[in-house]
Amino acid sequence: MHDPVLRPVLTASVVLGAAVGVFGISFGVGAVSAGASVAQACVMSLLVFTGASQFSVVSVIGAGGSTLSALSGALLLAARNGAYSLTIGRVLPGSVARRMVAAQLTIDESTAMAVAQREPRAQRTAFWITGLSVYVFWNAGTLVGALIGTSVDPVTFGLDAAFPAGFVAMVWPVLGHRRGRVAAGLGAAICLALIPVTPVGVPILCASLAILVGIPAGHSPERAPGRFPETPI
């Protein structure tokens, strides 16, 4: 491909996909050590396909949390894809089937790559290439990780620290603005305070109350958030 606009998009989406593949491996390892079967880990990546929610579910279930608390927290994290779909839906017309496929690929990475382009044609191309690249790598990574996870002891190799480390990388970009820092600090504090006194999973749900710091309109020139992805996964 020699198109000067699309070539960098292609390169970036493959690099991004490869990085996501590593993340997929850590998800696969974590999922099976939290009690999921290889099939469950793979089906989750194929059908759910939104990293933060999948990590959250595995993390809560692995610690002994209830299905309901795991599901609620994960769905809250998945809600932002609804905001992305508003943005992508506008630049991606097409048949019902086409939009249904596009919807499944509407995640942080594909949205970020699409909105970074100027013209609609490049936006659509960036969306599809990135979405498909991430889909392939994420699922391949999950399978590899799930197979590794059944054959190594995660604690011996320190793989239980891989999850929170991945979360640190995910949360880092949102700490760039003040509201993100306040919400993160409050969320962490709520979780810390509730771990000893509530069932597993509940502290994560209650931490979502920290998003209420977004209510005041504020005077800062921050771009209206929500439309654009701020986490890498």
Partner: protein
């Protein structure tokens, strides 16, 4: 982990993704909802970091994980690639356990 959870999450997550393509059309989300939704990852992921670093079921438990996550945080701050962050976290945590015999 139950299949109901896997499939329930799949259905719910897909429903959110379909929203903008079909249900909401050209409608705008109120700005206040948008501002709050944008903070969901910050609030929840920060909580997950706390839980996975020093939580152990319903107890707080300081162990080698905190060293690995601290090292990973430095790596993230130094803009290390994702794979390096993960490897550092696992290597420091696993290494510390090997040394302490935990």
């Amino acid at each position: 982990m139950s299949w109901a959870l896997v499939l329930g999450l799949a259905a719910g997550a897909y429903a959110f993704k379909l929203l903008g393509f079909f249900a909401l059309g050209q409608r705008e989300i109120p700005a206040v909802i948008e501002r709050c939704m944008a903070l969901i990852p910050a609030a929840l992921i920060a909580a997950l970091i706390v839980k996975d670093t020093i939580g152990d079921g319903q107890h707080l438990h300081l162990d080698e994980r905190i060293l690995g996550v601290a090292a990973a945080t430095v790596a993230v701050w130094r803009r290390a690639p994702f794979v390096v962050v993960i490897v550092i976290a696992a290597a420091v945590t696993g290494g510390a356990r090997a040394i302490t015999g935990a």
